[in-house]
C-alpha cells in the first residue's frame, strides 16, 4: 500500500486475512485512492460492511466503521445516512452479501436514491465459507455447492441497480485499477445511490475450480475479457458474449432521499413551528 | 346510573361505530369519569360485523371488555342476532329499525328507532347515522352529559363537518325525545 494511504489504515489490525492472489486489497487500494482524491474527512466518513471476505475490509480502515450482519449493510447505512446526512457513507459488500441475502435491501436502497456509495467486490463466489456459488457466479461455473457447474442464471448487478433507481453505476476490474479508483470517486461525488462493481479475483475458492489457478492468471483473464463501454457501441451482441463491460455505465439526475427528507422536515416544521434535532451529546 | 356502565355499539363495518364509541368514551372523561374503549375484531370481523365497547365508571376500570352490556346499540340484523341475548337484565337496547327487521323477544327496555333512514332523510347523509345514534342513545340513557358529548364530537370529527354533525346529534336527540314522551 502506498505510503500516502497509510493514514487511512488501522495498521495494528494487520496482517489482513485475505489469501495470496486475492484481489480485495487492490479494490481497497482503489477505494482509498478515491477517498484521498476527494480529501474526505476521516471523522466525517462512515464505512459499513456486511459479512464476507470483502466486508472484513472495514475493520482495517481508520474511519467510523461498522461491520454488520450478513446482507444488511445497506439497511444499517440507510439509518446512519438518514440520521446524519452530512456524513459520507460508503458501503463495502460482496456479491453474495449484496445480491443474495441482501438483495432486497440493495434494490430498495437504490430505489430510494439515498446517498450511499456501494463498492461491490464481485469475486463470483462465497469465499469466506469456502467457495459456494452466488447470484453472480456465471452459469456453468463450478463451486462447492455446484460441483457439476451452476445451472442458475446470474444477475447483471449493474443493470439491476440501474433499473431499481440508482443514479450512478460503474464497473471495473482489479486489472483496470485506475479506472476503478476513478469510478469510485465519481460514485462518492454523486449525490444519490451509487454502485461501483469491482470485478475481483478469488483464486482460492473460485479460480482453482474454474481453470484459473493463480491471481495473476485471473488478472490476465480480466485484462483479456474487459471491454470499455465506449467500445461496445461498435460491437455486435455476439462479440460481447462473455465479456465484462467496464466504465461508467449509467448516470442520471434524480432527487436524493435525505435531501428530500430535509425538505419534508422544513415543510412539516413550517406547518407547526417545529424545531431541529441535535444528536445526543451524552450526559 | 350505577357506579359502572357498560356499552356495546354494534353493526356493520363502515357505520362509524368505533368512532362513536371513542366519542362516548371521550365525553365520559370530559364529565370527569373514567372510561375505556376497545374494539373487538374477533372472527366476527369477517362477516363485516363491527363492534365497539365502552365502560364508564367512577372507579378504576380493571377488565376492559364488556360481557353483558347495560346499553346495547344494534345497527344491523347480524349484530342483533349475535348480541341481543348478551344484554344485561334491566339493560337498554336501541335498535336501528332501518336495518333490523326480525326481533325475537328480549327482556329489558327496547327502543326501536329509524336511525339510518332518519340520517339519510332528515340530515341528508346516512354517513352520520352513528352520530344520530349517539344523540338518541345519550338522550335515552344519560350515560354522558349532552355538553360533553357535543364537545367530544367536535373534537373528533374532520374540520368542516361540524354543522352536519351537530345537526345529526340534535336529530338523534329529538328522535329519542319523541319515543320518551
Amino acid at each position: 500500500m502506498m505510503q500516502e494511504l497509510q493514514g487511512y489504515l488501522r495498521l495494528d489490525r494487520f496482517p489482513h486475512m485475505w489469501c495470496p492472489g486475492c484481489g480485495n486489497g487492490i479494490v481497497l487500494g482503489c477505494l482509498l485512492r478515491a477517498i484521498k482524491k476527494l480529501e474526505l474527512d476521516q471523522d466525517r466518513t462512515v464505512i459499513v460492511g456486511g459479512i464476507g471476505c470483502s466486508s472484513r475490509a472495514v475493520g482495517y480502515l481508520d474511519f467510523n466503521t461498522l461491520h454488520t450482519t450478513h446482507g444488511r449493510a445497506l439497511a444499517f447505512a440507510t439509518g446512519i445516512k438518514l440520521a446524519r446526512p452530512e456524513l459520507h457513507v460508503i458501503v463495502i459488500t460482496g456479491d453474495g452479501d449484496a445480491t443474495a441475502i441482501g438483495g432486497n435491501h440493495f434494490i430498495h436502497a437504490a430505489r430510494r436514491n439515498i446517498d450511499l456509495t456501494v463498492v461491490l467486490f464481485n469475486n463470483n463466489i462465497y469465499g469466506m465459507t469456502g467457495g459456494q456459488y452466488s447470484p453472480l457466479t456465471p452459469g456453468g461455473k463450478k463451486a462447492t455447492t455446484a460441483p457439476y457447474g451452476t445451472i442458475e442464471h446470474n444477475f447483471d448487478v449493474a443493470e439491476l441497480a440501474r433499473s431499481a433507481g440508482a443514479t450512478y453505476v460503474g464497473r471495473s476490474t482489479t486489472y483496470h485499477s485506475n479506472l476503478l479508483a476513478n469510478l469510485i470517486a465519481a460514485g462518492i461525488e454523486n449525490k444519490g445511490f451509487s454502485l461501483v462493481e469491482a470485478i475481483t479475483a478469488c483464486p482460492t475458492a473460485y479460480g482453482r475450480r474454474n481453470k484459473m489457478r493463480s491471481g495473476a492468471e485471473m488478472l490476465l483473464w480480466q485484462k483479456e475479457n474487459a471491454v470499455h463501454v465506449k467500445k461496445t457501441e461498435r460491437m455486435a451482441p455476439a462479440e460481447l458474449a462473455g465479456k465484462i463491460v467496464i466504465g461508467e455505465l449509467h448516470k442520471r439526475e434524480a432527487p436524493e432521499y435525505t435531501a428530500m427528507y430535509e425538505q419534508l422536515i422544513a415543510e412539516a416544521g413550517r406547518e407547526t413551528g417545529g424545531g431541529s434535532v441535535t444528536p445526543l451529546k451524552g450526559r | 346510573m350505577g357506579k359502572s356502565m357498560e356499552l356495546r355499539l354494534s353493526g356493520t363495518g363502515g357505520q362509524g361505530l368505533i368512532l362513536a364509541g371513542i366519542i362516548i368514551a371521550d365525553a365520559a372523561i370530559r364529565d370527569g369519569k373514567n372510561s375505556v374503549q376497545s374494539q373487538s375484531y374477533g372472527p366476527e370481523a369477517r362477516g363485516g360485523a363491527s363492534r365497539a365497547e365502552v365502560i364508564i365508571s367512577d372507579e378504576e376500570i380493571d377488565y376492559p371488555r364488556v360481557a353483558h352490556p347495560n346499553v346495547l346499540l344494534v345497527m344491523s340484523q347480524e349484530a342483533y342476532d349475535k348480541f341481543a341475548a348478551d344484554l344485561d337484565r334491566g339493560g337498554v337496547m336501541i335498535i336501528d329499525s332501518t336495518y333490523v327487521q326480525e326481533r325475537p323477544g328480549i327482556d329489558g327496555a327496547v327502543y326501536t328507532l329509524p336511525i339510518s333512514s332518519t340520517a339519510r332523510e332528515q340530515v341528508g347523509r346516512e354517513m352520520v347515522a352513528n352520530v344520530v345514534a349517539l344523540g338518541a342513545m345519550v338522550r335515552i340513557t344519560g350515560v354522558v352529559s349532552r355538553r360533553a358529548l357535543a364537545d367530544a364530537l367536535l373534537a373528533r370529527i374532520p374540520r368542516g363537518t361540524e354543522e352536519l354533525n351537530l345537526k345529526a346529534l340534535e336529530t338523534g336527540w329529538q328522535l329519542a325525545e319523541k319515543v320518551l314522551h
Binding site: 476521516q42 471523522d43 462512515v46 459499513v48 472495514v58 475493520g59 481508520d62 474511519f63 467510523n64 466503521t65 461498522l66 461491520h67 454488520t68 450482519t69 444488511r72 439497511a75 447505512a77 440507510t78 439509518g79 446512519i80 445516512k81 440520521a83 446524519r84 452530512e86 456524513l87 432486497n104 435491501h105 430498495h108 427528507y261 419534508l264 422536515i265 412539516a268 416544521g269 406547518e271 407547526t272 417545529g274 431541529s276 434535532v277 444528536p279 445526543l280 451529546k281 451524552g282 450526559r283 | 371513542i22 371521550d26 372523561i29 373514567n34 372510561s35 374503549q37 376497545s38 374494539q39 373487538s40 375484531y41 374477533g42 370481523a45 376500570i61 380493571d62 377488565y63 376492559p64 371488555r65
Partner: protein, 380 residues
C-alpha cells in the same frame, strides 16, 4: 415560565407509546407496517419530521431494526415497533445490538401466533422469544405494560434503560393494551426524566470504545464526532477488534451479562395489590393483569386472602421477589395468553416452596376475570 396544565385525555395504547417515545427524546423510527402495531409507525411518520426527527418505512423488519441501529450509532435515540412475525425477523439484529452494545428500543405489540396466526387478536406468546429469540447468550431488558398510561411510562423507561446500559430494550405489549383507549393524564414535558447514553470523557486519541467504566458500561461515541472506532457483531476486544481469543470472547459475554445483573435494583420494576397478607398470589403481566386484578378484588370480597403481583420488568426475571412470594403464599397462579411460558420461569424459581398453576388461553381473547377467580377458588 410555562404553566403546567394536567389534562385528562382519551388515548390509545399505541398512541401512548409514540408519545412516550417522543417525550423520551426518540428522534428516529424505522419499521415495517404490521397489525396491531401500525398506529405507532403512523404517528411517528407524522410527528417526527415536525420535531426535526426522521421516519423511514423500510423494506422489511430486518431492515427496520438495522436502520434503527445505524441511526443510534449516528447519535439519535431510535425505536422500532412490530408484532410477532416482524419480531421474529428482528432477532438477527437484536443480537447484533446486544453484542455491539447499541441502544435501541423494539416495541412488540403481541398478536396471536404462531406464524400469521390471528393478526388482530391478542396473545402473550412472545415472552420466551423476547428472552431467548436470538442465537447465543445475552441479556435483554423486557418491559410489559398493562394500561395506556403504563405504555407511555414504560416506553420512556425503555428508552432510558437502553441509553443508560447500551442495550436493546423490548417493550412487550399485547393487542389489548395496544388498541385500548382509556383516560390518561400525561406528565408535562419537563417532568419526564430522560437519560442520554454515557459519552466519552477522554479525547479521541485515548478512547477505547468497549472499555467499561465501573458500572460495566462503556461510554459511547457517536459516529461523526471525531472518535473513529470499529463496531462489529463479531466477538471483540475492548478496542473493538474482532477476536477468536477464548478468554477475550468470554470476558465480553460475561460483562454483557454482568452489566445488567449488577443493576437489577435499577432495572426491575413491579407493582402489587393486596400482597401484604396474601396466601394466594396471582402473578400477571400485560393486559392479563387487568382481569387478574378484578379476580383478586372479587376473591377479597369473599374473604379469600388473594393478592396480585405484577412484574413490569419481565426480563431479567424478578427471581428474588418471586422466591419471597413463594415463601409467603401457598399458591401462585400465573394467567397468560399463552400455554405457560412465564409460568415455566416461576416454577423454576419457586421449586416446591409453593404450588404453581396457570390459567392459559390461546384463543385470541383476553382471559376473563371469572376464569382466574375459578383458579383461585381451586387452590383456597
Amino acid at each position: 415560565m410555562s404553566q403546567v396544565i394536567e389534562m385528562a385525555r382519551l388515548m390509545q395504547g399505541n398512541e401512548a407509546v409514540a408519545e412516550g417515545a417522543l417525550a423520551a427524546g426518540v428522534r428516529f423510527f424505522a419499521g415495517y407496517p404490521i397489525t396491531p402495531s401500525t398506529e405507532i409507525a403512523e404517528i411517528m411518520a407524522d410527528r417526527l419530521p415536525r420535531l426535526g426527527g426522521k421516519f423511514i418505512q423500510m423494506e422489511d423488519e430486518i431492515a427496520g431494526l438495522a436502520a434503527v441501529i445505524g441511526a443510534s450509532l449516528a447519535g439519535l435515540k431510535a425505536l422500532t415497533a412490530t408484532s410477532g412475525p416482524g419480531f421474529s425477523l428482528m432477532q438477527e439484529n437484536l443480537g447484533f445490538a446486544a453484542m455491539a452494545e447499541v441502544p435501541c428500543v423494539i416495541v412488540n405489540v403481541q398478536r396471536s401466533g404462531p406464524s400469521t396466526g390471528m393478526p388482530t387478536s391478542p396473545a402473550q406468546g412472545d415472552v420466551m422469544q423476547a428472552r431467548w429469540g436470538t442465537h447465543g447468550d445475552h441479556p435483554v431488558i423486557v418491559l410489559s405494560p398493562s394500561s395506556v398510561r403504563e405504555a407511555y411510562d414504560l416506553t420512556v423507561r425503555a428508552v432510558n434503560l437502553a441509553e443508560k446500559y447500551r442495550v436493546p430494550v423490548i417493550l412487550l405489549m399485547d393487542e389489548v393494551v395496544g388498541h385500548l383507549r382509556e383516560k390518561v393524564v400525561l406528565p408535562a414535558r419537563g417532568e419526564v426524566e430522560t437519560v442520554d447514553r454515557p459519552s466519552p470523557k477522554v479525547p479521541p486519541g485515548e478512547y477505547v470504545p468497549f472499555r467499561p467504566e465501573d458500572n460495566l458500561v462503556p461510554p459511547m461515541a457517536n459516529f461523526g464526532e471525531g472518535y473513529r472506532y470499529h463496531v462489529t457483531g463479531l466477538a471483540h476486544d475492548e478496542k473493538g477488534t474482532p477476536t477468536n481469543n477464548p478468554a477475550l470472547a468470554e470476558q465480553l459475554l460475561l460483562r454483557l451479562h454482568d452489566k445488567i445483573n449488577m443493576h437489577l435494583d435499577d432495572i426491575l420494576l413491579d407493582d402489587a395489590k393486596f400482597l401484604e397478607d396474601a396466601e394466594i398470589v396471582v402473578l400477571a403481566y400485560g393486559s392479563t393483569a387487568r382481569p387478574a386484578r378484578r379476580a383478586v378484588k372479587e376473591a377479597r370480597g369473599r374473604g379469600i386472602k388473594a393478592g396480585l403481583y405484577r412484574p413490569l420488568t419481565l426480563w431479567p426475571f424478578p427471581a428474588k421477589k418471586v422466591r419471597e412470594l413463594a415463601e409467603q403464599a401457598h399458591s401462585i397462579i400465573v394467567p397468560e395468553m399463552n400455554l405457560g411460558q412465564y409460568r415455566l420461569e416461576v416454577e423454576r424459581v419457586v421449586r416446591d416452596r409453593a404450588r404453581v398453576s396457570g390459567v392459559n388461553r390461546v384463543h385470541g381473547e383476553l382471559i376473563e376475570p371469572e376464569e382466574i377467580t375459578a383458579a383461585i377458588l381451586e387452590v383456597v
